[in-house]
Symmetry: C2
Subunit: 235 residues, 2 copies
DNA sequence: CGCTCGGTTGATGCACATCAAAGGCTGTGG
DNA sequence: CCACAGCCTTTGATGTGCATCAACCGAGCG
């Protein structure tokens, strides 16, 4: 059972996200009315695909994966959500919304859960907020497209692109770490390939000193070489 | 050069789309202020990926493909847009938006082009309209996800799913036609495979009498068998 | 009449899937 | 405290679906 916290302390957290930047505390309090903070453990489920969508969520800490099952019964990861990301907001305006994906914690994480009514009442009527939500969606859409463009690229290019995408906008020269715990299986499920294939590429990279893994945290030791992998299908 | 029409007659057309269902003519007139109707020929370009996004569009008639170039220089089709669909609306709220995709007519088509200012002024402030736009996006997102789920399925399953998706919600028993002109190359570019592979599957299906093509219009003669293709990877 | 565009077919090769086997690590319950 | 189950990782052997390359045909068009 997920624990429930006072959401007062969480107000300050959401306030700090770009999504609500510049909003007054009073306003944010309205936007979160009825909301509660859920604390999840590794692999714990928040929403199930197909269930009635009574709430939407804002990721506070940790990370979540949004996934669906294939016709074969195995998981396809649609999206990785980090702090500040909204989940299931897009379906809120629908008459009888259902969750479009499974949502599951990756490592210990916290999410603010807010009732649908609040979205309809306070969020939808706030043009600035809507504009920002559309920006979030726009960037998520953009990632989808970037993945689609990589469809025909070799696996190592797709993997490199995925990791670089997760790194987002860190500085380039230093060695950096992927900001969420990531198993080979999850990489595979995200790219639509098998674990074994991912492992073969990763261990090549490890041997070449491009990356290193410890406790599911992936460090990129030579970002430059990763970028090469994306652009040069040969070699 | 695309022709420009009086947009008065077009007002009635957009009024009929689900997007604006129930809106008053006066309101719709505001929503389209500054808009003009563009008439395109086959393969004519409306927007180019990367250009400054000064307008968004509503498809009136015909069809458009939204595409991007891969690192290899070949085209990836992101989405097929039919009448009633909005194009580039999602990026309008951004500070300095650029078009996220190339937009190109498939066969003779017409699109209403509306300036960004109108979106910011009239669209963004209308909660009902925003809710409907989010529904459109939500369904587009859903298609992306459905495609992603099919990633590991054999090609014929992906092709069957694509065709059934384009058919949308026609009656099942009768033979039906895909509502837009579609070359094998376009199917290939949409699925991220080669033309040859698509052709091999299509000609198998033709021999079995499942589908037939004439002048780029694809008729589904036995929808039931297509559905089987999606679900049964073997055989 | 040569051009481009769309469709088709066959031969060959390769990237990744599949299958099999094994070891480590973690949490859980007897 | 140990046994066990579930999850994650790894490596090797073998198979295959689709890519690649090459060649050709027909239709429309300036």
């Amino acid at each position: 059972m997920p624990q429930t916290n006072s959401s007062d302390t969480a107000l300050g957290e959401v306030l700090a996200f770009p999504l609500l930047h510049g909003f007054e505390r009073k306003m944010v309090s309205d936007l979160c009315s009825g909301g509660e903070v859920r604390v999840q453990r590794h692999r714990e489920v928040v929403f199930n695909h197909g269930e009635t969508a009574s709430h939407f969520g804002i990721v506070l800490t940790g990370a979540y994966k949004l996934s669906r099952l294939t016709y074969m019964g195995d998981e396809t990861i649609i999206h990785f959500s980090s702090p500040g990301d909204v989940v299931a907001a897009l379906v809120m305006p629908q008459p009888n919304p259902i969750y479009p994906v499974n949502v599951r914690a990756m490592g210990p994480s916290r999410m603010m859960i807010i009732p649908r009514e609040t979205y309809l009442k306070y969020w939808l009527s706030n043009p600035l907020l809507i504009a920002r939500i559309q920006q979030l969606l726009s960037s998520r859409m953009g990632r989808f497209q970037n993945q689609k463009i990589m469809q025909r690229a070799p696996l190592r290019a797709k993997m490199a692109a995925l990791l670089l995408n997760l790194l987002e906008s860190k500085d380039d020269g230093a060695d950096v770490e992927v900001p969420l715990p990531l198993t080979r299986k999850e990489i595979a499920d995200s790219l639509g390939v098998t674990v074994e294939s991912v492992i073969r590429v990763m261990s090549d990279w490890s041997k070449q000193g491009m990356v290193s893994t410890s406790d599911h945290r992936i460090r990129i030791l030579k970002p430059g070489l990763l970028v090469e992998q994306v652009n040069e299908p040969s070699e």
